[in-house]
Symmetry: C2
Subunit: 409 residues, 2 copies
């Protein structure tokens, strides 16, 4: 029941020179589904990432951080679904390293030039025999035009693959960006989401790439929530292969940097919103815009309180304009000196609450009309400053409960 | 589907000398249900309360605070269900005051000797004609043995009334305590819950009563959560009529104070747990015990993260020992310097995780056995101090979604 999420078409996903993607059906958790992905990167590529802030970060996330810090140049990514390799202690770390060793051996590169990623059930050991058997199969079918299959191979409870492309002119050259993402539950990313990858053939120095990935994450994956559960495995990685022949971007300013930053951020937003549109059980996409705050932090705090409220989410599911629930969430968000007498609330173009109370002209049928839509903007004006923040979320339906009650069965 | 919540029996609810309770069917929202309660208090009673910290606190909560501060001695409470009188601005305040005026006029007391309470839908005007017509009817049938009917008259989505009694010896006299509570959703009380009332015939000075109500709230209503939504109307009130002839308690220490405090706290815990047992759609009661923390605040922070996680709650609903979700919630709770290598996890007597990873002796069938129970204790040891905290919560079921999607229909 994804919300306005058309199936990506392979012909719309542009290959990125220097990036080859190969998949395998390794039977990690279930048979007959793509569950291992290997991404080969051309020599000289730069790679930057942001990762979960969950203290129980998964073993592969720890190994990613080590290998990026080693600085030898990343040449491959290996991703499995069906098992998160999280809460697995030292054996889990050894398994993540052994996976990198296998990829490195097959490709003739160093193990610290491989980044591992896992997604799936927490607290269970990775089935290494099946995973290691899948790696050479994935490498054998790696191709530049495999982006759609790559998106399919990282799905868990996703109902469909998530992928998109952009092009941007840098110094007279056309630069391509293509990305994939996955995730539908345990989604309240904190510094990155449950697996997002974007590759470009632009040429970008490593520190600039890190600035780009952080900026894009803050304005995309770090502004979505489905259930408020921050995953142990969130990772968002940006790759620049330098194969477009465009001028190198060496500093985090200037027109070329800005053009690439905007393209990366736009693509990351599209991929992040795809996750919300495909949120577990989602029937609606809600954009929560908070404005007039003293700082971005308090705007985000209020936006997330509204976005996480089970009562708000079930009211949207029911198309019931029980909008006092939104005010209640604004009130308990934890902004202790908030003067509710200055709060205004709109549902799309309908002015629901003025100065903290029901607007005298508000009519239930107007609220009802907007609530029936598949995409709704909730605008909350705090009237105490100029800061703004936007968070995207979805409703809470019977299907969310069914999906998560039955996840392992 | 309340969890191990037997229907209270009228004969087990002991009258409290000096407290008379009367109800009416006023048709506030629906016909043919008790929806107005008036509680008359004998002259000389002391009354103390704690109220919601939601910034959008309801009009009656504001009036309660004013009337308690006026200090003329509270002589009556008036409670309506079906409408929360919240998010209603100045007209809402005027309506709450008019309700007090009506009760005061009928009883020959001052309006500032009346405390008003409302619970129900937010953002809609109180139907004053029906409410004011109900007040004299409620006063007309006020009796000391009406506690069960009183509990029924404050229900909203509750499936059954919540009431209990205690007795305790104070200075050789038997003192009685009887209380009622209501609430099943929008439950994550912050300083009080969605309506709890306890009356005793002990004699207690006002400042001591305030200390008692705060202590009891912290260990009961402020330690439960159903959906993490803090209501605009949470109120918990403690009444002491002094009619038992027991020695007056003038100081917040000593054996008599302690005996009364423990009885009030025990009764408040029972009433609070009744709310969780009757949580919207609840099929299970979970006790989340966090120990070994540096301070109570971080223990509560982690306990609430686990208690609020939709993924944890749906796993309990499904009796699925997908226990990595608990570790993930511990990890994202926001205790930034938590060393997950020191975290241990038990489900009742089953040791699930040791030192941050799966316990080598943990067997899925042991977890499965406990998960099938109706009442489960989740014990989390942080291994970094001596502080502890306990939070009670329930699971997240299809029925929670149904109840809240259909709430106003």
């Amino acid at each position: 029941m994804a919300v306005n999420l058309p199936l990506p078409q392979a012909e719309n996903l542009k290959p990125v020179a220097g990036v080859e993607l190969g998949w395998a059906e390794a039977g990690i958790r279930k048979a007959n589904r793509k569950d291992v992905l290997v991404v080969r990167l051309a020599e000289g590529s730069t790679v930057a990432g942001v990762f979960t802030r969950n203290r129980f970060c998964a073993a592969p996330v720890q190994v990613c951080r080590e290998h990026l810090a080693a600085g030898r140049g990343i040449r491959a990514l290996v991703i499995n679904t069906g098992n998160a390799n999280a809460g697995t202690g030292e054996p889990g770390l050894a398994n993540a390293r052994a996976t990198c060793d296998a990829v490195a051996g097959a490709l003739g590169i160093g193990a610290d030039q491989v980044l591992p990623f896992s997604t799936g059930v927490i607290l269970e050991p990775l089935p290494m025999d099946r995973l290691l058997a899948g790696v050479p199969k994935a490498i054998a079918n790696a191709r530049e035009d495999n982006w759609l299959a790559a998106a399919e191979s990282i799905m868990t409870t996703d109902t469909q693959p998530k992928a998109a492309s952009r092009t941007v002119q840098i110094g007279g050259k056309t630069v391509t960006l293509t990305g994939i993402s996955k995730g539908a539950g345990m989604i309240r990313p904190n510094m990155a989401t449950m697996l997002g990858f974007i590759a470009t053939d632009a040429t970008v120095a490593q520190p600039v790439l890190q600035a780009l990935v952080s900026h894009a994450a803050d304005h995309s994956f770090n502004s979505i929530t489905i259930d408020g559960d921050t995953s142990t495995n969130d990772s968002f990685v940006l790759i620049a292969t330098g194969r477009a022949g465009a001028p190198a971007i060496e500093r985090a300013d200037g027109a070329e940097f800005t053009a690439l930053r905007d393209a990366v951020t736009s693509l990351a937003q599209e991929l992040a919103q795809m996750i919300v549109r495909d949120g577990e059980g989602a029937t609606k996409l809600m954009t929560i815009q908070v404005e007039g705050g003293r700082d971005v932090a308090e705007c985000r705090q209020i936006a997330y309180a509204v976005a996480h409220s089970p009562l708000v989410k079930t009211a949207f599911y029911a198309s019931d304009p029980n909008l006092g629930r939104i005010l209640a969430a604004v009130g308990y968000a934890g902004v202790d000196d908030l003067d509710v007498g200055g709060v205004n609330l709109w549902l799309d173009d309908v002015w629901v609450a003025r100065d903290g109370g029901r607007h005298p002209d508000y009519r239930e049928e107007d609220g009802q009309r907007v609530m029936k839509q598949a995409e709704i903007t909730v605008r909350i004006a705090l009237g105490r400053g100029n800061a703004t923040a936007t968070v995207w979320t979805c409703d809470l339906s019977h299907d969310y409960v069914s999906i998560n009650a039955d996840y392992r069965s």
